[in-house]
């Protein structure tokens, strides 16, 4: 049986999740040149916010009501944390050497993980999340309801973001700030507000990805942000950091490459033992190194000038 279509679908699904998270990295980086290392943890807290909503609602609630409410709950938590981090941790350091905000971000990331582990009930192991496990067969590809949700969410998020950035006044202000914050400020743009909005959008998209993650895999845990965040950042670099379309494309490419590598690499002579899920992260990382070697500006090119 030909497994290629199924593997491609799996890769695209994983990739849209990476892409949703990567948008948060890329928007923030495009505007303030900061790797918001804690973004993976914002993704994770979004998941726990959604879980809280699920636990608070009566157990028989229909999924049609549940999923939107979980999106709102998770989104609120993630946006609050993202905006709070910007306001209280990053903004005071805006003029500081680049190392300072990066180290702050690492501290923040550890603190968020530990807060959830210590203070969320039973969070020291994986918590069950409602799954959408109905399967559909389309040709030789089997997908779950959760996958349909993920695809829809990614498409809707991406389209509305593109519309927002291109058409709305705030979106154009955002583009201007990314190009040159000082001039943008002189033109009357409240750059602080733009930065907050970038953090908020990134946080909300991360929460959407977290809900999709929970629905797809059926559980979430406090450590899931680290690796997902790392991969999503890889996706952002892959697509060209600062470029929101690049982030989505990078996510898709990374997801497909990773899935195909773990499925087929053991068929290559001499690499029999290097296949399977346990090596997938290694291949994703090798892809990052290759892209940095041969196309450091990313697939679609970056949108920010390099300021030393």
């Amino acid at each position: 049986m030909n497994t290629l279509p199924q593997q491609l679908a799996n890769g695209l699904l994983l990739g849209s999740m990476y892409g949703l998270i990567a948008i948060g990295y890329t928007m923030v980086y495009g505007i303030v040149q900061l790797i918001n290392f804690a973004h993976g943890e914002i993704f994770m807290t979004g998941g726990f916010g959604a879980l809280t909503v699920y636990l608070a609602l009566p157990s028989g609630t229909s999924m049609w009501a549940l999923v939107p409410l979980m999106l709102i709950g998770g989104g609120m938590v993630a946006v609050l944390i993202a905006v709070g981090a910007e306001r209280f941790a990053y903004r005071p350091l805006r003029g500081a050497p680049r190392l300072a905000p990066l180290i702050t971000a690492i501290g923040l990331s550890l603190a968020l993980q530990e807060v959830v582990r210590n203070f969320y009930p039973d969070a020291d192991r994986a918590r069950a999340f409602p799954g959408l496990d109905n399967t559909h067969d389309i040709g030789s590809v089997t997908i779950k309801d959760a996958d349909i949700f993920l695809i829809l969410a990614a498409v809707v998020c991406m389209a509305s973001l593109a519309f927002f950035v291109r058409r709305s006044r705030t979106g154009r202000a955002m583009q201007a700030t990314a190009q040159d914050p000082d001039t943008a400020q002189l033109m009357g743009i409240d750059t602080n507000r733009i930065i907050v909005i970038a953090f908020a959008i990134g946080g909300f998209f991360a929460a959407v990805a977290a809900v999709a993650y929970g629905l797809k895999y059926g559980n979430i845990d406090y450590r899931m942000g680290f690796l997902m965040g790392l991969k999503a950042f890889t996706a952002a670099v892959l697509g060209g950091i600062g470029n929101i379309y690049g982030a989505m494309l990078g996510g898709l490419v990374l997801g497909v490459a990773e899935t195909l590598a773990s499925a087929y690499i053991d068929g290559i002579p001499g690499m029999q033992q290097l296949g399977g899920a346990s090596w997938a992260n290694v291949w994703a990382f090798c892809l990052l190194i290759l892209v940095l070697l041969f196309r450091p500006q990313g697939l679609l090119g970056e949108r920010v000038a390099d300021r030393a």
Binding site: I106, G107, A111, L288
Partner: protein, 596 residues
Amino acid sequence: MTDTLTKTRPATRGLIPLPSAAAHALILVGGVATAASAYLAWTWTSAFPGNLTFNGYPGGLQWLTFTAGILTVLFALARQGAPGLKWLSPTSNNAPVVLSTLGAFGTTWFTVISITADLGGLANLEPGAYVAAVASLLPLIGALALPQEGAGERPVKETLGHYIAKADRIPAAQATAPWIQRLIITAVTIIGLATFTYGIDTEYGELFIGYLFVVVFAIWAMHTAGLIDRFSALVAGNRSFTLAMGFAAAIAFPFTQTDDHYANIGVNILIFGTVALGLNIVVGLAGLLDLGYVAFLGVGAYTAALVSGSEFSTFSGVQFPFWASALTGAAASLLFGVLIGAPTLRLRGDYLAIVTLGFGEIFRIAVNNLDGDSGPDLTNGPNGIPSIPDLSFFGYNFGESHDIAGFTLGRFANYYLLMVLIMAIVVLVYTRAADSRIGRSWIAIREDETAATAMGINGFRVKLVAFALGAALAGLAGTVSAHVTYSVVPNPYQFAGSTPPNSAFLLAAVVLGGMGTVAGPLLGAALLYLLPEKLVFLQDKSLLAFGIALVLLMRFRPEGIIANRRRQLEFHETGQLDVPDTTTLTDQPAVTKTGA
């Protein structure tokens, strides 16, 4: 500077309205009473660790209260210009007195409160505890009643800030004969070693917290008195003597220990500190953020384990002598450093952070999978490589106890001495490199890469040298750590964990101690190793505290405990013209950000 006018106004009153003489008397009497109260019984049962039940002899935490009380008295006398103690307070400012009373107050009240909390209720306190609590509060009241300029006119918060502010100018010390200077350095080294040893030997968490109170406030008091500045000037004049004394003290440490457990703590601190110093080359000097540094330690450790002759190693027939396995480990790390660095160092620095983070994660995954089952057989997977044989030099087996001049050196003490040697090599490499042409290139690249490149520095090449050198030093430390721990397993080599060394802790040691200095990362490593080790009750929350501490540190003191002067100026950049105003080292030409 709007407050230059108010500075000239004579100081008249303190925050708490009391006559000046009464304030001084209160501090002295209170300080003596605090020290004396340590001789009373504070609780009736020996259930509280340290046995504080004796009248007439201090025990455990009472010794700390005693020390803090004596320090208060000394600083108070020096503040009033008592003959023979003038050197303790060169500027006669209030800050040392206030801070030392705070130290005594903190230790004593912490002890009393933890007795109450541990044993459940005030009923467990003997009258001595109440005496101590009151006695330690008196000097604090007295200290806040000392006349301080601005008290009563400015907001209380600002006045409190002035109470603990360092003097603006520290008068240069009188010239002394070289032998006196060396005597002072020797004495300080001995006191330092004794203090450090006491800290490592604390047997329970409460004692360690009390110790931290006393030490932190004592050092802070000395800093505000200007003693630290004077001592640094002394050190600057006797650099090689100080270095020799420092190593003598480091070598002397295992001879002061009777229990090999504390030598084990010592060797772990040294490994952690050495690796942190290596990371300091990468982060502190060259300004490259390496988030997967512990992986290089892991590469060294695994390499050493593979060629150690352990029967569980894939190459179990191979047994290299230590010098060869140390070189192989360092070379393997160097190779990985170049492999990771070469593609990424040409790019913006942020990419390096993420690639090294990825590398650190990949290393852990790879060694977990290279078990012959889910990957080629190399590292034995999660089980690691156990039973690594002990080292042996010229018939001196590191695994056995040896008696030297009446002292018994256990297994860990042997390795400790070996680690001192390795650390000496790393310190030497660090200082020689930092002062050389390439070290200046690193700093130039860190400050402004575009300008440095324009001046003819090959940015990529010097960055690669820094990165590879850092990796090789970590690998070298790793080879020793493989032998110390008997076995290597994948688990410690991760980004963040609750026990050091892991990449986050290493980075924190460098940042907390002070980037770009030699002493900083060592101090940071010692602190970060001892805190989780001693404060067992924190175990679960230590990473949380650690994360929050990193955020706060970056916000309020980004240059770390021991500040590199250039770094300090960089982080508190106020424009170049006002730099000389804020400096206290007036006897040296001020180094501006672009200078040197």
